[in-house]
């Protein structure tokens, strides 16, 4: 316990300590194990885990450094622990959500019943930046659009989990979830014993099973590939990692060719037909004939093969409409509309600038709110009211009034904290959780997910591009 001495959970919901400073029951066995380590041993093991990431090449490049220095993504060895019941609740909520999202996407790309019934105003869909009207009426494999979803969950001061956003395009980070576990096992093998931590290693298998499930050729073993933008993409490590774990080829656009609406890859023995593409390239870049004409990464003609049903894509084309933060607002309504159920996991309260009442509220309360552009991510295009300058607030006010469809606002949620090693002491840092939901024959969610941590004191931004790190996530049996 020595290392946790003087730990102050502050006024936030802390994952390990209650408000009165007592250890939460499900964390007690872990703390006891960590208590047996002295600080020097702890630091040596922490350094060891960092070396593991460096040698594995799980790094990003530091720009403007001609020696090509590489850094690892910061990894904090204190895991985030979650009791079984809590996870079951999240699992049920996330499953409900992905089912509803897929019904919604199928609907708006076919009959648009939800628009006809005026549950969602039509113009929100039609003006969504990533809606692809040219794909209306196209049937996709298994009627599924989002095969892999990386929803971001946060926990407020009330201890309640909220869905912050659903990432239904190309969510990344699953490899970190797997490698964090590997690194922790190597550095602290002792702490896992007899704690009943659920394993996470089924992820690549679940992913591959899903890819097989959506193959257009069910009579034979499908040829699946992972389509990457290339080795300069910041997630390239992950692409290689997942491809290798699944035992499938990783391809770049130039490795694929479309002949008569079939997709082939160029091999040393000639052309080989491809059935399923796990694509890690956005719609915009995937086929220069249909989308961005200047894309050098895509596969000309791919959309023809896709529309003809000769190749399946995971995720399908056009899922970006569900990532629109205005559409996010309607997810609880989708759940009620399609499933006739109450949402298990709530959204963060959200105000739409296009609604007159909401607009009034937003403009009046800007200094207290978080404002987000509908189609930005990674912490960009955002106004953090409480910490913003007057000028910034006024600049956003103008933007919101000029283009209300493009903005939403939410109250600031104080993310829960988790003890994190910060240069010599254990301190509380804000965290979120990104579980990875796979929708194949059925829904599979690897226990836990990627816990991201904002390493800067008091910061609520966990994105790796803005000083975020990550932790291992333990779901207990």
């Amino acid at each position: 316990m020595e290392m946790f001495k003087g730990y102050d959970p502050g006024r936030f919901y802390d994952e390990m300590f209650g408000g009165d400073g007592s250890v939460r029951k499900h964390c007690a066995p872990l703390l006891k194990k960590f208590g047996k380590l002295d600080q020097r041993d702890f630091l040596a093991r922490k350094a060891n885990s960092e070396l593991y990431f460096l040698r594995q090449g799980i790094t990003f490049n530091v720009y403007h450094d001609d020696r090509g220095t590489e850094r690892i993504f910061p990894f904090d060895p204190i895991p985030r622990v979650m009791p079984a019941a809590e996870w079951e609740h999240l699992e049920a909520g996330l499953t409900q959500r992905i089912v509803a999202l897929n019904l919604f996407l199928h609907d708006i790309y076919h009959d648009q019943q939800i628009l006809k019934d005026e549950v969602i105003p039509r113009f929100y869909i039609e003006q969504a930046k990533h809606y692809r009207p040219e794909f209306r009426g196209v049937d996709v494999a298994a009627d599924t659009y989002i095969h892999i979803c990386g929803s971001d969950l946060i926990r407020g001061g009330d201890g309640v989990y909220y869905v912050l956003e659903d990432n239904g395009r190309c969510p990344s980070g699953a490899s970190y979830l797997l490698e964090n576990r590997n690194a922790l096992k190597r550095a602290f093998p002792g702490i896992f014993e007899s704690l009943g931590v659920r394993p996470v290693d089924s992820y690549p298998r679940d992913l591959l099973n899903m890819l097989h499930h959506i193959s257009p050729r069910q009579d034979k073993d499908p040829v699946c590939v992972l389509l990457t933008p290339g080795c300069y993409n910041s997630a390239y490590f992950e692409h290689c990692y997942l491809a290798r774990e699944m035992g499938i080829d990783i391809v770049e656009g130039k490795d694929l060719v479309v002949v008569d609406k079939f997709v082939y890859m160029r091999t040393t023995r000639g052309l080989l037909r491809v059935d399923v593409i796990y694509r890690r390239i956005d719609d915009d870049f995937i086929d220069p004939v249909v989308f961005r004409k200047d894309s050098v990464l895509g596969v000309p003609g791919l959309m023809n093969a896709y529309k003809a049903g000769n190749v399946s894509l995971a995720n399908a084309v056009g899922t970006g409409v569900a990532d629109d933060k205005v559409i996010y607002y309607f997810v609880p309504r989708m759940i009620e509309y399609y499933l006739g159920q109450e949402p298990i996991l709530p959204n963060v309260p959200t105000y739409l600038a296009s609604e007159a009442e909401d607009m009034k509220y937003i403009l009046k309360n800007l200094p207290e709110l978080v404002v987000k552009a509908a189609n930005e991510s990674g912490g960009y295009g955002m106004l953090m009211g409480p910490t913003a300058s007057k000028d910034e607030i006024e600049a956003f006010r103008e933007r919101i009034v000029a283009d209300p469809r493009n903005y939403i606002a939410q109250p600031v949620i104080s993310l829960s904290t988790s003890p994190t090693w910060c240069e010599g002491a254990m301190e509380g840092r804000h965290i979120d959780l990104r579980p990875y939901i796979i929708y194949g024959k059925d829904v599979k969610i690897v226990p836990g997910g990627l816990t991201r941590v904002a390493l800067t004191k008091d910061s609520l931004i966990v994105n790796s591009s803005q000083g975020g790190g990550s932790k291992d996530t333990w779901v207990l049996r």
Partner: protein, 347 residues
């Protein structure tokens, strides 16, 4: 397998092999010079100039350096980032190639190459290079050897392996001819000196560069131009002899295509078969009749020919089926920047 992947594996191994060979060459030459006590800078130049000439990088060197002293040559060949063929550049290129086919490599294999890369850019490497060069080069060689050992024990013997093997043996054969060719550029004064003949010293160094000293001694007695050339070109058993390497190249080529040996289904196989039979039935007499330098030069030309044909057959050919070419940006460097930017923003 994917054509691009085959090509990348081939180059990954070639670059590791190149770094390894350079490390040997420099290390041995540095040690050789210790045997000559009073070399003035003019004589020193006489020793380092041939090294640059034999690697074929004399133009690149001349652009970067004014003098051909040992410090300049050693820096140029070892860790000058401006020389694309320096040891550290080769390591970086090998690692960059490995990175793009990371999924094809075992964890251990990647880790070894990545560690070598991290070492080559570390402060530790720099201080070792300054203070204890033999240990610096030993580190490089050891890691390159470990890399090959891990590759051999963790790679399935499939096409991927054969393309890696091709790269290794073509590069090795090429480097062996270049080590031999150093003698062609030695100043005349270096031959036939007093008590210790620099000729013997030179050929000893060549054998050492190839790690061939022990193997040579086991079958030959005198160290002369003829015996060394015979051993390093025509030995049937020594793994760095040109003949041995070409035998391996020929085997790999036929395993890849499935064509029986002794026949051919592409130009690379045809040229390798012809070259191999020249080596199988040739002798040092042919070499010295042709002239050592001319003979080695011709060999290098034929290696390049085979390398080019491998690329043509397995990498370029599938490219030709493309029926709807994408937009072509104007120049190559623009295209590279363009591609890189899109890769960073496309997911």
């Amino acid at each position: 397998m994917l054509s691009r992947v085959a090509n990348t594996l081939y180059w990954m191994v070639r670059y590791v092999e190149r770094a390894d060979n350079l490390a040997r060459l420099i290390d041995v030459n540095q040690q050789l010079l210790l045997d000559f006590e009073s070399l003035d800078s003019e004589r020193l130049r006489g020793f380092w100039q041939p090294i640059i000439l034999s690697t074929g990088d004399e133009d690149a060197f001349a652009k970067l350096y004014d003098t051909t002293g040992s410090a300049e040559v050693i820096r140029f060949l070892t860790n000058d980032p401006k020389n694309p063929n320096s040891i550290t550049s080769c390591i970086a290129l090998a690692r960059e190639n490995a990175r793009t086919v990371r999924d094809q490599l075992s964890d251990e294999l990647w880790e070894e190459l990545n560690s070598l890369y991290l070492f080559s850019r570390s402060d530790e490497a720099q201080s070792l290079f300054d203070a204890d060069p033999p240990r610096y080069y030993e580190n490089i060689r050891r890691s390159a050897m470990t890399f090959l050992g891990i590759a051999a024990s963790t790679t399935s013997r499939n096409e991927a392996w054969e393309f890696m093997d091709l790269g290794r043996h073509l590069e090795r054969a090429d480097k062996t001819t270049r080590f031999l060719d150093v003698s062609s550029y030695l100043p005349a004064a270096a031959e036939g000196q007093d008590a210790i003949s620099p000729g013997v010293l030179h050929w000893t160094a060549t054998l050492r560069s190839c790690g061939a000293m022990g193997a040579f001694r086991a079958t030959r007695r005198d160290i002369t131009a003829e015996t060394v050339v015979d051993f390093l070109i025509f030995s049937k058993d020594f793994p760095r002899s040109v003949r041995y390497c070409m035998e391996k190249v020929d085997i790999s080529l036929h395993l890849i295509s499935g064509t029986p040996r002794g026949s051919f289904s592409n130009e690379a196989e045809r040229e390798s078969g012809r070259l191999l039979s020249d080596l199988n039935y040739g002798s040092t007499k042919d070499v010295f009749e042709t002239g050592l330098h001319e003979y080695l030069d011709a060999l290098q030309g034929r290696f390049n020919h085979i390398g080019g044909e491998i690329f043509e057959t397995y990498v370029l050919m599938p490219e030709r089926v493309q029926i709807s070419p994408g937009p072509k940006p104007p120049t190559l460097s623009d295209a590279a920047v363009w591609r890189m930017e899109q890769q960073q923003s496309a997911s």
